[in-house]
Amino acid sequence: MKHDSYDVVVIGAGIVGSMVARELSKYRLSVAVLDKESDVGMGQSTSNSAIIHSGHDPQPGTDKARFNVRGNQLWFEIARDLEIPIERTGAMIVAVEDDDPAGLEELAERGRTNGVPVEILSREAALEKEPMLTPETVGALWTPTAGIVDPFQGVVGAAENAAENGVEFILNTEVTGAIIEAGHLVALETSVGRIATRVCINAAGVHSDEIMHMFGVRPEFEITARRGEYFVFDQAAMRIGTVLFPMPSEKGKGILVTHTTHGNTMVGPNSDYISDKEDHSTTEKGMHEILDGAQRLVPAVSARSVIATFAGLRATGNYKPVPDHGRDFLIERSAEVEGLINLAGVESPGYVAAPAIAERAVELLRETGLDLEKKKDWKPTRTAIPRFHHLSHEERDVLIREDPAYGRIVCRCEEVTEGEILRAIRSPIPATTYDAIKRRTWLGTGRCQGSFDYPRTMEILARELGLSMTEITKKGPGSVFLYRRTKEEVL
C-alpha cells in the first residue's frame, strides 16, 4: 500500500470495480481498488457467459434495463480503446416446440420498450442463420446488437488502464470494517491496516451485502450465491458461429449455446442457490442440466468433446424496488452513511452494464460534493499483450526477431509463448499466479488443460518473481502446486 489515505476506495476488482476505477482515473483523485483475492477478476467477472447482452430482456424501467442498453452502446468503443477482443455477433432467442408462441412477441415488445432493435424470425429464417439449430425450432427473436467479449481481457484491460492512469490496485486485502463518524465514512479497516477515506464504492460482488452490513446499513439486503455451470468444447470437434438463447424463464435467461472470442463453443449456465459463497465446484447434476439444456437448442452438442468445465457464482440480491419486476441492481448513494456508494446485487446483465454503472457511480460521486477535476493527460488506450496464436506467419517472424522470448512456445494447444507470459508477469497489474497468467494469455485453456505447460510456466513464474517452485500457486495463498523437492534431504 503506497499511502494510508485516498480520496476514493473501491472495494472489488471485478468488471464493475475495474470500470469504475477507469472512470475515476479520468479525474484528479487518489484512488485505490481493494480486493481480497490475489488478482483482479477472480469472481463472477471471469466465470460467466461472456455475452454483451442487447438489453431486450430486463424489465423496462429497471436499472438492469437502463444500464444494459447503455453498456451495450459503450462496450464496443471501450473494447477498441483497450484492445479487448469483442464481436458484435447478434443473438437469437429461440422458441422450440413446447414454448409458448406468444412469448417471442412479448420479448420483442419488451425489447422495443427498452429501445433495443429486435426482429422476429420465422422458423426457416432462424434455421438459415443457424443450421445446427434443433428441427423443433418454431421461431426466434433476433437481436443484432448483442455480442461476445473476452471476459478476462475485459477486467484486465479496464484495470490495467486504470492502473496506468494512477489508480492503485491493492490485492490480497480484505475489508474488515468501516469507521464512521457522525454519519460519515472516515476510514476502512482492512487486513493490511487502516485506510483513511471519505468515499467508498462497494463493488464487492457476491460479498457486497456483507460490506453494507459492516457499515451498518441495509440489514435486510442479502446476497445469495447462485451458481451457474459451464462446458467449453474442443474447437476441432465443434464450432458454432451464432449465440443462442432459449426462451427465458423465472430462473433467468436459461442455458445458452454460444462461442467464445477464441472460437470455442460454450454452453451453460444452469441456476442453483448455494450457501457457500466461495464454493466454485461443478456438480454432476449441473453438468447433466447444462448438457440437456444445450441439446434442446443444438442436438449436436456432445459431452465427448468437452475440454473445460467451470462454475460461476452470481451475486443474486433480494432488492426488489418494484414488486412485480423481480430483482434489480442496487445502485445508490447510501442514505444512512455519507460517503458509501453501493453498486450491489450486480448479477446478469452486470458484465455488459459495467461501463454504464461506472458512469452512474461518477454521477453519484458528484452528488456527494466531491470536486471532480478532469485530468488533461488521461490516457484512454491500453496496449494488450500480443496474441501469438492470432498472428500471421510474417507477424510472428517479426515478433520473434524483436524479442526471442516469443520464440519459445509454452502452451502448445493455445500457442502461448514465453514472451506473452513474461508480459503478463510484468504488466501494470502483474500476474503472480498460474491462473492470473491463464486469464491474461489463455494459457492452459485448450485440450491439454495445462498438462504440457504446468512445469514450464511454474519455472518462469519462479524465476521472474524470485520465488522457489514450491511457492508458486494456482490462485493465491493456500493453492501451492508443489509440496517439496523430490530429494528434499539434499537439495
Partner: protein
C-alpha cells in the same frame, strides 16, 4: 500373489514379472514347502521366476539421485540386478540423501556393493556439467 491351503499341499499363484505377458503361474508346494509342480508359465522364465520368488524374492529398484553442478537436478538410477524385495524401501530411503557430482554417465556406479550384499546402484541417464 495368492496362497491357498489345500489339505496337505499349498497352491500358490504368482504373476511372473519376467516379461510383459505376465503369465499366471501356479505352484503346488508340499508339506515341507518343497515345489511339487509348476504350471501356467508359457516359457521357462516363468519357472525360474517362481523358484526365485519362493526362495528369495527380488526386485529391481528404479529411482533417482540428486546431482550437484549438473544441467539437471536429478539423474535416474537403478539396480540392474534385482535386490532383496524386503530391502527395497531401505535403499530407496538412502537414495534420498545421496548427491553425485556432475557429469554423470550411463553406467556410472553410484553405490557399489550396498550393505555388502553385492547390490549396485547404477546411473541410467546422462547429466552434463553446467558450464
Amino acid at each position: 500373489m495368492t496362497i491357498v491351503k489345500e489339505g496337505d499341499t499349498i497352491r500358490r499363484t504368482d504373476i511372473c514379472l519376467r516379461c510383459p505377458q505376465g503369465c499366471q503361474v501356479e505352484t503346488i508346494l508340499g508339506e515341507n514347502d518343497e515345489i511339487l509342480s509348476i504350471s501356467g508359465n508359457r516359457c521357462k522364465l516363468g519357472k525360474e521366476y517362481v523358484e526365485q520368488e519362493i526362495r528369495d524374492p527380488r526386485r529391481v529398484l528404479p529411482t533417482s539421485v540428486a546431482v550437484r553442478g549438473g544441467v539437471r537436478p536429478l539423474v535416474p538410477v537403478w539396480t540392474p540386478e534385482p535386490m532383496p524385495k524386503d530391502l527395497i524401501m531401505d535403499l530407496a530411503r538412502e537414495t534420498r540423501s545421496i548427491e553425485v557430482e556432475a557429469p554423470v554417465h550411463v553406467g556410472d556406479v553410484i553405490i557399489d556393493d550396498w550393505r555388502g550384499l553385492g547390490i549396485q546402484l547404477v546411473a541410467s541417464g546422462e547429466v552434463a556439467k553446467v558450464e
